[in-house]
């Protein structure tokens, strides 16, 4: 088995594990959102690396160097996923802004304690 040819997929695993670690162990809500964004980027990188064919060109016919092209469908999925990621990240950050306003803190433990 050649581990070097699997390098993008290992980077995908690294990104997702880093995001999962941040989500599980950090208490700051901003850092948790950063972890979620890391996991989103891992998923996007996974989709793009699924589309890769060695030695092929981008799937655009305008002045293409050759007619051998990589798979277009994962690229389209990634394209929509990035915009969705931006919008949902903005929604989560808005929640954090309102939590900061109401509770005065963004530590998840203290926010939970205030509810009692």
């Amino acid at each position: 088995m050649n581990w070097f040819t699997l390098f993008p997929l290992i980077m995908v695993v690294t990104l997702i594990i880093m995001g999962l670690y941040v989500v599980l162990f950090k208490k700051n809500l901003i850092k948790i959102i950063m972890g979620i964004a890391l996991m989103q980027n891992g998923a996007n990188l996974f989709l793009v690396s699924l589309a890769y064919r060695e030695g092929y060109v981008a799937p655009i016919w305008t002045s293409a160097p050759s007619a051998d092209m990589v798979l277009p469908t994962p690229h389209a999925l990634t394209l929509t996923s990035i915009v969705i990621g931006v919008a949902t990240t903005a929604l989560m950050l808005s929640f954090v802004m309102m939590i900061k306003k109401h509770y005065g803190t963004i530590n998840s433990d203290e926010v939970r304690r205030c509810r009692e």
Partner: protein, 110 residues
């Protein structure tokens, strides 16, 4: 205790993901040789035959998987509506003023 459980879960999940990556792509484990490509090869040919579009990614986005893009636009619309709703101007009544609640609970500890 909670942290130990979370650590064990993290290690197990990462082990499964690394094993899955190692077993991907058939026997040789090579990167860059997708196996199932009939649909994408059809898109590459058909986007010029029937759609007259050079950019195959755009053709997939707006024609073959257009319903996916419509759902994506709806999700974007919903997210923006959520941001507008969360960040609107409003006043809390005194009973549910959580800021005061926080301060009184902090002060009540003594």
């Amino acid at each position: 205790m909670k942290k130990i459980i979370a650590l064990i879960a993290l290690i197990v999940i990462s082990a499964f993901m690394l094993g899955g990556v190692a077993e991907m792509r058939g026997d040789d484990g090579s990167f860059g040789n997708p196996v199932e490509t009939e649909m994408d090869d059809f898109f590459l040919e058909d986007s010029q035959d029937h759609n007259q579009v050079n950019n195959v990614v755009t053709a997939v986005l707006f024609d073959y998987r257009g319903l996916d893009t419509l759902g994506e636009a709806t999700v974007l619309f919903s997210a923006v509506s959520g941001v507008l709703t969360v960040l609107r101007k409003y006043k809390l009544s005194k009973k549910e003023n959580l800021t005061k609640l926080t301060k009184s609970s902090k002060g009540g500890k003594k």
